[in-house]
């Protein structure tokens, strides 16, 4: 396998979607290729950094409005 081919299989690899044969070839290549190991590591870092977007805090005004709606809902049964 060439590096050009290996980079396009990386998501399938991370998803566990490669056949046993392709997985073995992929891992063989990766074991001997610093560039592809770096690329795979970059993809994992990318996934982790994208995941950090989840940490965006709720703005205080939205939180206050929603808490008020929840109080109305639990007291009066409607919002």
């Amino acid at each position: 396998m060439t590096c050009r081919e290996v980079v396009e299989l990386m998501t399938d690899y991370l998803e566990g979607a490669l056949s046993a044969e392709y997985r073995a070839k992929f891992e063989d290549h990766i074991a001997g290729c610093d560039g592809c190991r770096a690329y795979l590591s970059q993809l994992r870092t990318t996934r982790m950094v994208v995941g950090k977007l989840a940490d965006e805090p709720i703005p205080a005004n939205i939180e206050a409005e929603l808490m008020k709606a929840f109080q109305d809902w639990s007291l009066a049964g409607q919002v």
Partner: protein, 230 residues
Amino acid sequence: MVEGGERRARSPITSALTSRLSLAGVGESRDEAELAALKAGDEAAFSALIKRHHGPMLRLAMAYVRDPAAAEDVVQETWLTCLRNLDRFEGRSTLKTWIFGIAMNLARSRRRKEARVLPFASLFRRDDSDRAGATVDGSRFGADGMWATRPDSWRSLPEERVLSSETLQRVKRAIEALPVKQREVITLRDVAGFDAGEVCAFLSISPENQRVRLHRARAAVRKMLEGYLR
């Protein structure tokens, strides 16, 4: 085996089994406790719920709606819809899946309304997200298909650089620049934390299309980061 213990690289059978187990076990009892608390008017439970899901839900809304204020409206409307319909939640999915399904429906209908006022051309922008093409510039490889310009290792970069607010802003913009088919997949998978099967069900797409879209989306964000973190 180079990268040992890759959590996501389990066989499909094992991961399907695990997600079913977690649905029937931990997830379900947590949902039941949370539902009971909400129905009892427990404000701390509702506060925890909206805080936990705010970031992912806002990003999901932004995957469909361009205007941040409109996306915030979608988030608020989602919670109101959830409260109005909580009695009808039957636990056939997890609470999180149910909530995000509502958010997605509201965001998509908002998008359709916005589309009516958008210029004609932008509605029919070509989206070839399902085509499995090269995601790395061909000039990076030699004639033999091996790296000519290798990617750098990011391991020596300080974490405060990789996770700086500037980096996160750029990642947001890179995702917003993707075609919608890739934007929704990377947001559901990597921001909201749904698994592949859940995303296929949400979007009614095949496992292959889910992977191709995810691959292209992550590759595009990686490429942006490579330029920025150099």
